[in-house]
Amino acid sequence: MTETVLRTGAEKRRFNVDMRALSPFIALIVLVIAGALINPDFLTASNLLNVVTRSAFIAIIAVGATFVIAGGGLDLSVGSMAALTAGVMILTLNNMGTGDMGTLALGMLVAIGLSAACGLANGLIVTFGRIEPFIVTLGTMGIFRSLVIWLAAGGTITMRNFELRELYRPVYFGSVFGVPYPIIAFMVVAAVGALILYRTSFGRHVVALGSNEDVARYSGVPIWRVRTLTYIIQGVCVGIAVLVYVPRLGSATPTTGLLWELQAITAVVIGGTALKGGIGRIWGTVVGAVILELVANIMVLSNFVSEFLVGAVQGAIIIIAMLVQRSVHRGR
């Protein structure tokens, strides 16, 4: 008899957990409906594809941020890291000069390598220096940003080789069966991220680390390695985002990636990952990134908000979206 009581309890709970993971999607749907009401152009395929496509950078970066945050860390340097990586990648491409696939591949390799190295640096300082990640990555944020500005001598780093640009352009603007590459890229990154976070020991260890470092240590989790790896994953995600970013405008400026860190963290939190660590929701994060971009899109499409107040409405919408999510939880 007790048996049945316990069982039903468990059933009920599992359902609840799903609701919780679903709630970002609900917020998304509410937003889409709101958007459609505000402007009929909103629901056109091209607009929606545009929005999702350009949420790709933040989504990809935020997948990495999900690892870092689920592991109890924080990375504020991603925006500057993206700018630096983009800058160095373009400089590499420019210096190679030739407009063939090989050059492009080399440039991509450099980008991924550099951003992984930046992530490694963050990870090592955090783990071995035992300094709050907030401070470490704030510091490296300044360092990376300055390096771009210095490389660009205050100006812009632009892809010079026209052939190369045309060769590379489709990576942002092209599509297969109507699905733009950036969307494919971020779905793949999210899927791989989800696979790693949910289906590997490493992912398990990340969450355990974020949940309770002592327990993780006693359980034989190699915490230093795991923590450093989360930052490296973050770095690699930044690198991938840069690969998709560069073909869009073909340049890196001192403003590239400004405030991306804030957007990435926001996407992660909207997606249901707790900032204190111990929970990681990759798909929620991706939805969070799309939500952010949607809100901005709706703001431009709507006609009744003065451009001065766009930020206010945007802020209010995000808070309201979170309240909606909350009430969904509690309603259950």
């Binding site: 402007n39 152009d41 909103f42 056109t44 091209s46 607009n47 545009n50 350009r54 500005i149 660009a152 001598a153 205050g154 100006g155 812009t156 632009t158 603007f173 869009r248 405008l249 340049s251 400026t253 001192p254 403003t255 590239t256 400004l258 971009e293 901005a296 899109n297 431009v300 499409l301 451009e307 001065f308 766009v310």
Partner: protein, 292 residues
């Protein structure tokens, strides 16, 4: 005899294309002037916002500079701190954004932001005559506000209608996004005032992606070399530009240094007006070695 003069330079940090250009020109000119005038020392300092700039000014004056060349973030904010510094007898050169109290500035190298808006508007009136334009604004600052209000004022009474205006923060990425959204929202746009070359580049990518034929041209501003090159080459989408050279800081530095090393007093206002760059005069504005 050796004359020892220190000039402090306070400018905004290289946080976007144009200010990046300013920093570059300031550094280059500083090197040249130090070579040209023995005994001259030029100290260049950048600041990320108005309050930091006030701090940097304090710090510069505490190092006993003879003259200050300042490109203020915001003239309202800096009027007071500059007055303090002036009282201590420092020679003051202001660039681009004039202080509220003109008595403070010994030399004023004026950029003319209202004129920047007006010149752009005039180009639209002259070349489009009739039609719909969309506007991309910069970062909410006085500079942006002066440009945009004067642009709109100058359009009044013409057949040109501003469909939409949004902030895109003098940033290519933001401009790209805002333009994508404009394109989704407005079925017919005749031209775009991007108000800045960085933003114009983002706008053009968005247009190219959407393959829209209705847009006749994009007018940027500030004379970035890539854009001037396009004007020179006769690019259909970029028929013109409005100059707003970051090298105005060089002018200011040169005049200030000259004030100390030549006997002629250099006080007064030097206006570098916003000028329309077209295919005809483009080569005068093209500096391939500048980073901007």
């Amino acid at each position: 005899q050796q004359k020892s003069v220190t000039i402090g330079v306070s400018i905004p940090a290289a946080t976007h294309g144009w200010t990046g250009g300013v920093v570059y020109h300031a550094q280059e000119t500083a090197k040249q002037l130090e070579k040209g005038y023995p005994g001259l020392k030029v100290v260049v300092k950048t600041s990320p916002d108005g309050a930091s700039q006030a701090n940097a000014l304090d710090d510069l004056t505490s190092q006993k500079v003879d003259a200050l060349v300042v490109l203020p973030f915001n003239s309202d904010e800096l009027t007071n701190p500059m007055r303090e510094i002036k009282k201590r007898g420092t020679f003051v050169t202001i660039v681009d954004r004039g202080l509220k109290d003109p008595a403070i500035q010994d030399i004023y190298v004026a950029g003319n932001n209202p004129e920047f808006g007006r010149v752009a508007a005039k180009y639209f009136v002259d070349n489009l005559k009739q039609g719909n334009v969309v506007v991309l604004r910069g970062i909410p600052t006085v500079v942006d506000e002066e440009r945009v209000t004067n642009f709109e004022k100058a359009l009044e009474g013409s057949g040109i209608k501003v469909l939409d205006k949004q902030y895109a923060n003098w940033n290519r990425d933001d401009a790209f996004k805002v333009m994508q959204d404009y394109l989704a929202k407005h079925p017919k746009i005749d031209a775009v005032w991007a108000s800045d070359d960085d933003m114009a580049l983002g706008v053009m990518e968005a247009i190219r992606q959407a393959k829209r034929e209705d847009i006749k041209f994009v007018l940027g501003g500030a004379g970035m070399k890539d854009m001037v090159k396009k004007v020179m080459d006769g690019d259909k989408m970029v028929p013109a530009n409005v100059s707003y050279p970051p090298s105005m800081i060089s002018t200011a530095l040169g005049v200030t240094a000259a004030h100390f090393y030549t006997n002629a007093p250099m006080r007064g206002t030097y206006t570098l007006n916003a000028e329309l760059i077209t295919k005809d005069n483009a080569k005068n504005f093209y500096f391939p070695n500048s980073p901007f």
